[in-house]
Symmetry: C2
Subunit: 340 residues, 2 copies
Amino acid sequence: MVEDRRLSVLRAIVEDYVATHEPVGSRSLVERHSLGVSPATIRNDMAALEDEGLIAQPHTSAGRVPTDQGYRVFVDRLSQVKPLSGAEKRAIGSFLDGAVDLDDVMLRSVKLLSQLTKQVALIQYPSLTRSTVRHLELVGLAPTRVLLVLIADTGRVEQRIVDASAPITDDLIGRLRARLLERVVGVRLVDVAGTVADVVEQFEALDRPAVTAIVATLLETVVERHEERVMLAGTANLAAFGEDFNGAVRPVLEALEEQMVLLRLLGESRSSDVLSVRIGHENEVEGLSATSVVTVGYSRGDEVVAQLGVVGPTRMDYPGTMGSVRAVARYVGRILTEQQ
Amino acid sequence: MVEDRRLSVLRAIVEDYVATHEPVGSRSLVERHSLGVSPATIRNDMAALEDEGLIAQPHTSAGRVPTDQGYRVFVDRLSQVKPLSGAEKRAIGSFLDGAVDLDDVMLRSVKLLSQLTKQVALIQYPSLTRSTVRHLELVGLAPTRVLLVLIADTGRVEQRIVDASAPITDDLIGRLRARLLERVVGVRLVDVAGTVADVVEQFEALDRPAVTAIVATLLETVVERHEERVMLAGTANLAAFGEDFNGAVRPVLEALEEQMVLLRLLGESRSSDVLSVRIGHENEVEGLSATSVVTVGYSRGDEVVAQLGVVGPTRMDYPGTMGSVRAVARYVGRILTEQQ
DNA sequence: CTTGGCACTCGGTCGTCGGGAGTGCCAGGC
DNA sequence: GCCTGGCACTCCCGACGACCGAGTGCCAAG
């Protein structure tokens, strides 16, 4: 009973702090929430919550502020994901429809998410490794140069210029193309290495240098995790976080410019379609210890193909953010699935 | 003679202000530069420069700061582009080599430029409209869906999913592909509309809906200025500008997130390979009136195909920035040209 | 366990006050 | 005519101190 009220107090503190961005005191707490007890009682509860490490005071005798642990408890036990309003859902639908290709879907989704949440949004491209090859094309560019284009069934197109440093005739390109096509179309990318292994041997010694170069590039394209590309939007919203935590903008921007960091952020909860929330120091990425990251996987068909999410200040509106992230993930999944 | 000294004073003020970020007074000016006259004389010159609108004082009785016009004069008449050091040139070379495709070249270049200048760098993709079609591919995805891939001789690949809402057989795809190939390969993109105009007529009535949809998408792809894509890097450096002009970070970030704005920034000096410098209010883009934009065209062969440049605070190191921008543009041009 | 009372802490704001940097002007010198 | 040293003036900035108010912790009583 008492324990319950304490948690209510914690919830109230989180909500007020998120709304006002100011440490919240016992008096304003009883005024804004009908807790049915006096400020003095609240103070006792607060002292207890502080002992548990869920809230803290910036300075002696100032209001309380939730700690990372406090947010953790709030997210795990005290809040529910807030579903979007009908208007918001319609906005999502109309915003995402009309995307012309995969890049466009990614771009629109990430912009939308940043606008909905007023935070920085990220989206990872659908995984290539799990998908299959839909088509492969070789185009001669110069005597020794070939453009290799690989089209996956996710709609993703990868292109590479191969410099074979050995002459490549159009005839050779044609034969190699045909041979490769019969070996890779419909094959999962991860399996391509196996199916093309003996292709080189099937060509005359004279052609082998060129063929080897092209096949090697193909394998690179397939193996290198090119699905690990991340798109970003809403960095302007960082300035708004900054109101309070100014100066911390720089490390955040730096972290966000590093693809590797973004991948770690999204990757930590890989291949799960359950909302993941990492709060403050729970993030292992340096420079993002004052931010929280909310991510979720999105699917194509019934398989989770990548992650999307947002980065924001720890004092964010978790229920709302989680609702938006989940909703956008579902819409993206729907679009990818339909676009099969 | 006197006029000359005044300009020297202006140059000294710009250099000191850029170095220190603080208003510069008459005394420190004579100390740091061997002007051969007394502070009082400098004060007279400063008063004259102020009358001409080239410098200003933030408050009565503070040092002077260059105005946008002052920077203008500095750039036009008082400074020379600073060539890069040998080490820097080598760094550029090794950094840009090893790019695997066009996207990679763009990405590496823009990152490099942002690191060299410690500012925000932009690069525009090579213009598609001026280039020719190298290859075109149609890939059937679903009964009514086709993936259209267009490869330009710049190395640029455009992809579109076409939903014909009419069945498309593999046979039809094959015939259409062959027909289109003979009409578009080697043709300049701007001329494609002309060469494919009568293709639809050559198919049976039954196939026309599908063919029309595909050709329409092809025309869209060609006409829509898809070359107008811009890549960005170094936004973290914005935080460093912010030391002084804090709070102004937000509008800048917002402006930079808008593709249209970036295009205007780069486009204003279109198709010229002469360094363009727009200072402060000379920029028509709202929110960037406290920044300067240095851009230059880069070429493929002997034709200027797009622009690249940087955005930084008006108090930037113009000679150094201009040197870096020009150098990177030359290297990018070289790579694109070799990669013919 | 709750509550009202009370003393205490401490951050933020405001006004005051020199110090210092810098200016503009003036009169004298080259 | 231009340069220069001197001088009074302006004004920003940081330090200092006082005050106010919000908020706390503790205690004794209900």
